[in-house]
Amino acid sequence: MSKLIQILALLLLCIFTSGIYAEDVLIKNARVYTISDLGTIDNGYILLKDGLIDRVGKTIDFEFDGKVIDATGMSVTPGLVNAYTHLGLVEIGAVSQSLDVSTEDKLFGPSFKIAPAINPASTVIPHNRLNGLTHAIVVPAPGHQLFAGLGAAIRLENTDSLIISESVGLFADFSSLGSKLSGGSRAATYAKIRQSFLDAQDYEKNIEKNRSGDWREYFLPLHDLEALLPVLNADIPLVITAHRVSDIRQLLKLQKEFNLRLIIAGASEGWLVADELASAGVPVIVDPMANLPRDFDQLAARLDAATRMHNAGVSLLFTGVSWRNTHSAYLVRQAAGSAARYGMPVTEAIKAMTLNPALAFGFADRFGSIEEGKTADLVIWDGHPLELLTRADRVIMSGKEVPMVSRSTRLRDRYRNLNTSYPPAYRK
């Protein structure tokens, strides 16, 4: 009887653990881009245990009887991160019921938190995941004013646990859009940002009086001023879109004045002030393929801008390509390849879509590199990780292989053969 209980208990334990923990996996014979001090290891191995990276190295000097993946001829990188997307906020752009990126409601400014709108069931998630994207920063877009609101960070899962941070940074716009939303002049945008922070400081200093309604009026409502406090306290970064050299310099002044954790997004002309960005320690979110002089703020946009900024010591976080940064957010890999084409070292280009965003947003203890103790979110590529002829062969999240299936692959398989007796609707 006790034997039976033991067996049952063991069985239950197995069922229980298999639901939570992945089977141990050994990936061997791979070229491993660790994006860590371990560098890039030829014919290396990665041991995955309990959903985490357990060991990484060159020579396997231990016994292993779990699942083995022979990755001969393949390479492994950390799962890719796109640092600027609307993933989960938009299923179809022109279908308003499936579009949640911004609000026109004047009730919300900096306090507009986008996380509750993220839809784990979006078809956009598996499509990107099977192409190697495992994490993304999800940003709100400005609706009626220059502050867009609070962005989130997600893991590309189709469950509610996909959100890993509901408040990853405050997003704002100091480009031509920001000017337009501030009455038509960038001077007004600047004044508004600065006054918002001054007011938030004043609000915090007099917080008790404010809460009892015993203080002065501000142009932002109190809940918006509250939302600015973690930015002022440098708990979260201010991520602000800006392109023109003079605008970037104004933002660097604000950074000093308020001691902000500043991240600049866009930065088409950032390469002209790369030294200033580097010495201010300001990371830049950039699409390395965005070289069009799209507006008069971006006249100096060029294809080697990312490489120039990297060479000056700026920490880069990649996004792209262009407006496809959501539905095909995995194209950040093509964007990274573009930076590498213009001279950025391959591992640095990979770092800009793995470790750098993890560092800038405070997740480097969990993902972004292939190191012991980090979550086993990896991509096995069937060739050079930046090459266009390379595809993701397997995507592993928390140590488990992700099914390489999306709505798109289902449609492909359905229509692969057009000569069948029954209509396609009978092929599932």
Binding site: A94, L99, V139, S175, I285, L292, G337, L388
Partner: protein, 473 residues
């Protein structure tokens, strides 16, 4: 990037639906006399190839555009034409000999769907000239009359190996107007860019865009069924216009005294489609709509040359092959509209494997600079799904097949003796992310050279704009 960062309406950028403030005027002017209705081509091409010395490119890998890869090959460009291809060619005495060992040579790349010049950069209130969204039928407008020749995007595309491109009106209307095929050569006038002898095209649009633009104004079309009624009504009028014109010509030929019919620009364009002289380029995403458009073409006796943005082409690849219609597609753009929801990454490969004419187009000023990369991505996804696509196959999607759709395949689009010497030397495998176009020849003349700033054109917009003494880039 401004489009990318912080624009909830980023999607609009793609569907290029910017409403022009201008009112369209149907210019109706009575002309008398046969000369005036002879449709002698106005705005003729004044393009002239630059004179250039002979060029022998040797020791290279050729992707011919006709489905072949030739290793250790040489190619000779003389008097604007390709005059020899072989493994060991002798250079004429005056030839510029380029040792292209380790490099690759392809035909010049061709984009069948571009709005360069009509949506130039920088984009602003006054620069949006691509959509005459004032009436569902604006067949009377011509994209070439909007082209800003100093659009800096032309030279960026040249640096990506684009030697010819079709500039189209936008997709707000059922009939958007005439498109024009240009040589990607810097010029002072649009006429000097026009591809000599290339037929005109007519831009038509299915689906969401026309019905949204006019439906929102409580005008017709507000539904897909009204779209179709709109096309058919217009074709009936065009057939009648042609009939009257033919009747007039017949009487005139018999020596009868008759007044010439009043010219109608809209009907001239539509009428020439029915006569087979203008090619139909039809923005159309959904499978059933493409099938309906093919039936309309059959009803009125014209041909659809290519469906553009054909997201669902894979669903009807057999129909496209049977009717010999091209499909111009993207590798992975999707989700910006409901009709762009059923994207499969293998679309291009599936259409190609079905025996239809598969084209990769861009509709985008960034992607046009990397058209070779678009082909590489489509090839990669196809091979991962166990289709067997070679580089020699895939290059056709961006060279010969677009040339066919533009009606210029007898002139360009492949490396064949006698064709225009529109040629790109790549500094490596054009399917690699690390490769750049190194030299671009158009009609045998070196128009771009990454290694020599004398051959890096700077358009007027780029001159002195950031630095009074320098250039933008």
């Amino acid at each position: 990037m401004s489009q990318l960062l912080h624009r909830s309406i980023i999607w609009i950028g793609l569907i290029t639906l910017t409403i022009s403030a201008c009112q369209s005027t149907n210019i109706k002017k009575a002309y008398v006399g046969e000369k005036n209705i002879s449709l002698a081509a106005p705005f003729p091409s004044t393009y002239k190839r630059l004179s250039s010395q002979a060029v022998l490119i040797k020791n290279t890998t050729l992707l011919t555009g006709t489905g072949k890869q030739i290793n250790n090959a040489s190619i000779l460009l003389e008097n604007g034409r390709i005059t020899a291809i072989g493994n060991a060619l002798d250079a004429p005495l005056d030839a510029n000999v380029i040792d292209a060992k380790g490099k690759w040579v392809t035909p010049g790349l061709i984009d069948v769907h571009s709005h360069l010049g009509v949506y130039p950069a920088p984009s602003h209130e006054a620069s949006l000239d691509g959509n005459e969204a004032t009436s569902p039928n604006t067949a009377e407008v011509w994209a070439e009359h909007s082209v800003y020749t100093q659009d800096p995007q032309f030279t960026l595309a040249l640096a990506g190996g684009i030697t010819a491109l079709q500039i189209l009106p936008g997709s707000a209307n059922l009939f958007g107007g005439r498109g024009v095929t240009l040589k990607n050569t810097p010029a002072r006038t649009v006429q000097a860019m026009k591809f000599p002898g290339a037929p005109y095209s007519l831009k038509m649009a299915c689906g969401e865009n026309p019905k949204r633009v006019y439906g929102e104004r409580k005008q017709s079309p507000a539904s897909r069924m009204a779209n179709v009624a709109g096309y058919r009504t217009a074709w009936i009028a065009a057939a009648e216009y042609n009939r009257k014109l033919d009747e007039y010509k017949e009487k005139k030929n018999k020596g009868e005294e008759v007044d010439a019919p009043v010219r109608n620009l809209q009907m001239e364009t539509l009428g020439e489609v029915l006569r087979g002289n203008i090619l139909v380029h039809n923005h159309c995403y959904r499978a059933e709509e493409m099938a309906v458009m093919l039936d309309i073409a059959a009803e009125f006796g014209y041909k659809v040359t290519a469906f553009h943005h054909a997201i669902e082409a894979y669903k009807i690849a057999d129909l496209l092959a049977k009717d010999n219609v091209c499909a111009a597609m993207w590798p992975e753009w999707w989700g910006f509209k409901h009709e762009a929801y059923d994207m499969v990454e293998e679309n291009i490969v599936m259409v190609s494997e079905a025996g239809a004419c598969a084209i990769i187009h861009t509709d985008d000023a960034i992607t046009i600079q990397h058209l070779n990369q678009e082909a590489a991505k489509a090839m990669a996804v196809g091979n991962k799904a166990n289709y067997e696509i070679s580089r020699a196959d895939a290059i056709q999607w961006i060279t010969l097949n677009p040339a066919k759709a533009l009606g210029v395949a007898d002139q360009t689009g492949s490396l064949e003796i006698g064709k225009m010497a529109d040629v790109v030397i790549w500094d490596g495998d054009p399917f690699s992310v690390f490769t750049k176009a190194e030299k671009v020849f158009i009609d045998g003349a070196l128009m771009f050279d990454r290694l020599n700033s004398d051959f890096q054109p700077v358009l007027d917009f780029d001159l002195g704009v950031l630095d009074p003494e320098g250039e933008r880039l």
